[in-house]
């Protein structure tokens, strides 16, 4: 579904990504692991054209999207749940969710998408008129994911959804992702530092170090791989 072929990305003159390649197949959950500063977020920004790659190819459903401006990504069926959530703090939860359906005009479709999100995260329904900035961390993450679901994405990219959240909440969020994968056939590209948890629910994974992919393979194999265990699972 998503193919990234040897992209190189820069911030100013400093090269961050070196020939990064990865693939996400339809219906998969693929995890991108790596310690802080490895270049995971930079990879996502390159894919989404927020900080375009200088070279390399990016294909979605076999179409080149290197030059597709980021505001067209919702039309492609790609939604991003960014690192740090990026909610609109002064807007209500409902308005934040509605922003997720910004490009759509069909009112009834928008309303049913909203109900679906409320079904998955009932908490958001209770808080729908509260300002997003006043939610707890877990609720904010739910809101960010909910906003990403408003377009019924084919591919959802999540950048560190578990960051700073209590384990109970993290489990809840991962359960929701699993449900979306099996029930709605959503494909996920997941970025995590919580390797154990991410690998347990993924099909495949990549490990990134200093802007390059250093290991790739099946998630269960990685869980038992000595290298990964030592570096990322703290075993």
């Amino acid at each position: 579904m998503l193919k990234v072929k040897s992209i190189n990305a820069f911030y100013g003159d400093i090269q961050i990504l070196h020939n990064v390649s990865l693939e996400v197949g339809k219906g998969e959950i693929v995890t991108l692991l790596g310690s802080n500063g490895a270049g995971k977020t930079t990879t996502i920004k390159a894919i989404c054209n927020l900080n375009p790659a200088k070279s390399g190819e990016i294909l979605f459903l076999d179409k080149h999207i290197e030059k597709t401006p980021s505001y067209k990504f919702p039309h492609l069926g790609i939604s991003l749940v960014p690192e740090g959530r990026h909610l609109f703090p002064d807007m209500s939860v409902k308005d934040n969710l509605l922003m997720g359906a910004y490009g759509q005009n069909d009112k009834s479709a928008i309303n049913s998408a909203l109900e679906e999100v409320y079904d998955i995260f009932p908490r958001l329904k209770e808080r729908s008129s509260q300002q997003a900035g006043t939610l707890s961390g877990g609720e904010q993450q739910m809101c960010a994911i909910g906003r990403g679901l408003m377009i019924h994405p084919m591919l959802m990219i999540l950048d560190e959804p578990s960051l700073g959240l209590a384990p109970v909440i993290v489990d809840k969020i991962f359960d929701a992702l699993k449900l979306l994968q099996t029930r709605d056939n959503v494909t996920f590209l997941l970025i995590e530092q919580n390797a154990q948890l991410a690998l347990e629910c993924s099909n495949r994974a990549y490990v990134m170090e200093n802007g390059s992919i250093v290991i790739e393979g099946k998630a269960e194999e990685m869980l038992s791989s000595k290298e990964v265990q030592k570096a990322y699972l703290g075993l």
Binding site: Y71, L80, F88, G100, Y102
Partner: protein, 294 residues
């Protein structure tokens, strides 16, 4: 001093206040979304007045279509300025000092263009509504032109609020203001949002210029005082808040008018800026200010 005299002075203050509000609302909107101060904002006010003068006095076009043509020409000018100068700046991302230098240059350019093209003679436009209205058995009188300024400002401000709070464009503007990078990932074409915001902002100034042109004469420097006053109103209300600019505009307008009544004409700017200084002392973020978002 009679009550009716005082009422009339307050009314004059409200008229003045609404013109500041229009100018300030545009400045605040621009700050809220693009995070830039337009130092040529007052000159767009001036250009609006000249466009109306050209249409009505030179072109002999009837008043209402003349005003509309003036607004359209000003909007077109803003569009041209945005695409040719502001957009390349936005592309760079982090602006630093460049908006100030750019818009200061634009201001000089616009003033001198006006001077070259229209000359330095002050020009006049007839009152759009040349009547006097009396209320409360004649104890309150207001010229049609001033009444028109209040009505037009109210309608324009209402329209602006509806756009910002209730429409899809407004949601796009607010989203871009709060989180430019991410708004684009939700499908907002932030580049167009910036363009539209700049055009709306400049047109608000032009509308103010067009409405006030019959009262003050039209000249190349008419925007300078309005620029500083408009900015003062924004800061008083909370930079970035459109409501704040409107409230700030009314406060300063009325205060100026009252200081003319109770002190003398020379005191009006002193009082206006004194209010601003006290506000900055007490609450530096302004009346409505918090995060500087629309």
């Amino acid at each position: 001093m009679s009550v009716s005299y005082l009422t009339n002075q307050i009314l004059n203050g409200i008229v003045l206040g609404f013109s500041y509000a229009l100018v300030g609302a545009g400045l605040s909107l621009l700050w809220g979304t693009l995070k830039m101060i337009n130092l040529a904002h007052g000159d767009l006010y001036m250009m609006g007045a000249y466009f109306a003068w050209l249409a009505i006095r030179v072109g002999k076009i009837p008043i209402i279509p003349g005003i509309i043509i003036g607004v359209i020409c000003a909007a077109a000018l803003c569009l041209f300025i945005q695409i040719s100068t502001v957009r390349p700046l936005v592309r760079q991302g982090d602006f630093g000092m460049s908006p100030y230098i750019l818009t200061m240059g634009l201001s000089i350019l616009l003033q001198n263009t006006a001077l070259l093209v229209y000359g330095e003679r002050y020009q006049n436009i007839p009152y759009y509504l040349d009547k006097v209205y009396k209320f409360f058995n004649g104890s309150v009188t207001i010229s049609g032109q001033r009444l028109l300024i209040i009505v037009v400002s109210l309608v324009v401000i209402l329209f602006l609020m509806i756009i910002i709070k209730r429409t899809k464009l407004g949601r796009a503007i607010r989203a871009t203001a709060q989180d430019r990078e991410f708004a684009s990932m939700l499908g907002v074409n932030t580049k167009s949002v910036y363009t539209v915001t700049y055009v709306i902002s400049g047109s608000l100034a032009a509308i103010a210029g067009i409405m006030l042109a019959p009262i003050y004469s039209v000249n190349p420097w008419m925007g300078t005082a309005v620029q500083t006053k408009g900015l003062a109103c924004c800061v008083l209300g909370g930079l970035g808040s459109v409501e704040g600019a409107i409230v700030g505009g009314l406060i300063i307008g009325i205060a100026e008018s009252l200081s003319v009544t109770f002190l003398s004409k020379e005191w009006k700017d002193v009082v206006a800026y004194l209010i601003l200084i006290v506000m900055l002392w007490v609450k530096p973020s302004g009346i409505f200010g918090k995060r500087g978002a629309v």
